[in-house]
Amino acid sequence: MITTKSKSQAKVAKPETKTRIHLNSGLKADGLLKLYYYMRLMRGFEDSILRLYQQGKIVGGAYSGNGNEATAIGSAFALEKDDYLFPMHRDMGAHFVKGESVLNLMLQHLARENSLTRGRDGTGHYSDPSLRIYGNISHLGAMVPVACGAALACKLRKEKSVVMTYIGDGGASVGEVHEGLAMASVMRLPFILIIENNQYAYSTPTAKQFLVKHLSDRAVGYGIPGVTVDGTDVLAVFRVCREAVERARKGDGPTIIESVTMRMHGHAAHDNAWYVPKKQFEEWKKKDPIERFEKLLMTEGVLTEAKKKELTKDIHAQLDEATNIALEAPYPPSEQAAEGVYAE
């Protein structure tokens, strides 16, 4: 008959874990080490946040991108200085890659007066125009059209910047994601959407969110390229994103990238993820983005135990320093609450 179940068209990126990674990724040793460093920094930072949460020192909720480091870092690493980053709540590392300081993010989480939002908002909910970082809001999907608008601004000004943003497997159902993609595709905006398929939306497994095997198949309906990549493989993510960035920069329009990974913690610090089968965690633990990359770098001789030690120390020092400074920083004075609703 004339109708059949539609078949997936997703291009699935090949894994990048064999040798010759330098050539494959186009990255030299220092680039590779940077990827490693940022992944470690992201995990370290989020571990610090979770510790602070357990100590009752975080103001609201605390989210963790554990399992998502390769996606957050590999993607943001494909951006240039003048590109726009619109990260989501599992992408803490992307902020660092784009240049944000550990201290600023710590201050954000602790809602201090000298944070970028002066305590008015928390976590990654801030903007830093000097770095072209525009943080998310809680409403999932809502920033997608806004990111399109930044891409439109680039296009109108004939700038060569591109815009990268993210959405979860759950958030991908939100109407605004569709509207943004509809606009970005037909206008061929320099726009990249990374769908972080981490198997769960809060407690809801992907089986209750969609039928498709590859969320990158959403691209078919917009007539734009769609790719699915192993989101625990930082080099694969980087390569796929770099291609998408190049395409966007050339004026060839948007790409949807599905990065497949696992949310290794609960939805937020209050949630122990009891609804996730133990086996599922165990399977994914084997693909830990940091461990697998570390092993590769060691095998390749790019990383040594000594270097690792040094880097670990450096990261701890940074985090400790930022934590101490941030903890001692004051909350904003009460009366500030009433100010600044409007720009002057």
């Binding site: 305590g119 908002d121 809001i137 159902s173 939306a201 969110q209 969609f210 904003p332 009460s334 609450a337």
Partner: protein, 325 residues
């Protein structure tokens, strides 16, 4: 034998009773099934009612509100949960254009309930703390309730489910576990549209709802010691609101404080004040005062949020000013 329930438990119990009573009642929302809801209001529900009546939906509020509307039109009695009231903005078009206008345009009842965990005081920041009732207060066709106690919470969820109209049920997150009280064992309903005088008094009327009731009652105790008797009128229903109860209290006291957690300008308090000043002008012995949050987003830092939210102290100050006017 009355039992002690939290506000949250009272909502759960009301939902459960209605689901047992009426097979067309079903729930839909994000993470309400297996997980039992972000706040655990529907914990254990799938076990009793099955996944077909406690539906974990996709993450899409317009789809949730829309599907509830469609199912209601088709004869079911859906109860939709917004994970936080804040996310109702994503279902806004559905609610204000389809749901609210449906009966007026088509003479078909739309018996649905949207549950909206709302309010601040939990360090939720600008997107997890709002009280979005005023937008819907200005949308003809929706009913709105906002209980302040476990008793009212249970009685109103049951009435909301039985009402042939769309009812927005605002449940305050801070009250979930902070409000605890005895609730009768026997079945009861709290009628939609009827206020409840939570404390009688002859000097000043406080017209309020939700968290405001608690601040008002606390402040009333204090000023009582100063010889000022405050009447606390808990609206419970915001749409329709109980005009008679308001006028009775205003006529009795001659001085009015309107109090709500939602921001001031364009909040429900403005309408209540306008209603009073148009309909009880001759009885007023003092300007109508309002206490509400200032006109800003809800800030995140504890110092800022504390400054932002109304509280007993602010109510106290306003009462004392009114008392000496």
């Amino acid at each position: 034998m009355p039992k002690t329930l939290t506000y949250l438990e009272a909502i759960s119990e009301g939902l459960r009773e209605e689901m047992r009573r009426d097979g067309t009642v079903f729930l839909l929302g994000e993470d309400i099934g297996t997980y039992g809801g972000a706040f655990k209001v529907t914990k254990g529900f799938t076990e009793e009612f099955g996944q077909d009546r406690v539906i974990d939906t996709v993450l899409a509020e317009a789809a949730i509100v829309g599907a509830a509307t469609g199912a209601a039109i088709a004869g079911m009695r859906p109860v939709a949960e917004m994970q936080f009231a804040d996310f109702v903005t994503n279902g806004f078009n559905q609610l204000v254009n389809i749901t609210a206008k449906y009966h007026y345009r088509n003479f078909i009842p739309v018996p649905l309930v949207v549950r909206l965990p709302s309010g601040g005081g939990i360090h939720g920041g600008p997107f997890h703390s709002t009280n979005p009732e005023a937008w819907f207060f200005h949308t003809p066709g929706l009913k709105i309730v906002a209980p302040s106690t476990p008793y009212d919470a249970k009685g109103l969820i049951k009435s909301a489910i039985r009402d042939p109209n769309p009812v927005l049920y605002f449940e305050h997150k801070y009250l979930y576990r902070h409000a605890k009280a005895e609730v009768p064992d026997d079945e009861y309903l709290v009628p939609i549209g009827k206020a409840d005088v939570k404390r009688g008094g002859s000097d000043i009327a406080v017209i309020t709802y939700g968290t405001g009731v608690h601040w008002a009652l606390e402040a009333a105790e204090t000023v009582a010691k100063e010889g000022v008797e405050v009447e606390v009128v808990d609206l419970r229903s915001l749409m329709p609101f109980d005009k008679e109860a308001i006028l009775t209290s205003v006529k009795k006291t001659g001085k009015v404080l309107i109090l709500h957690e939602d921001t001031l300008t364009g909040g429900i308090g403005g309408e209540i004040a306008a209603f009073i000043s148009e309909n009880a002008f001759e009885y007023l012995d003092a300007p109508i005062k309002r206490v509400a949050s200032p006109d800003t987003p809800v800030p995140y830092a504890p110092t800022l949020e504390e400054y932002f939210l109304p509280n007993t102290k602010k109510v106290l100050e306003a009462l004392r000013k009114l008392a000496t006017y």
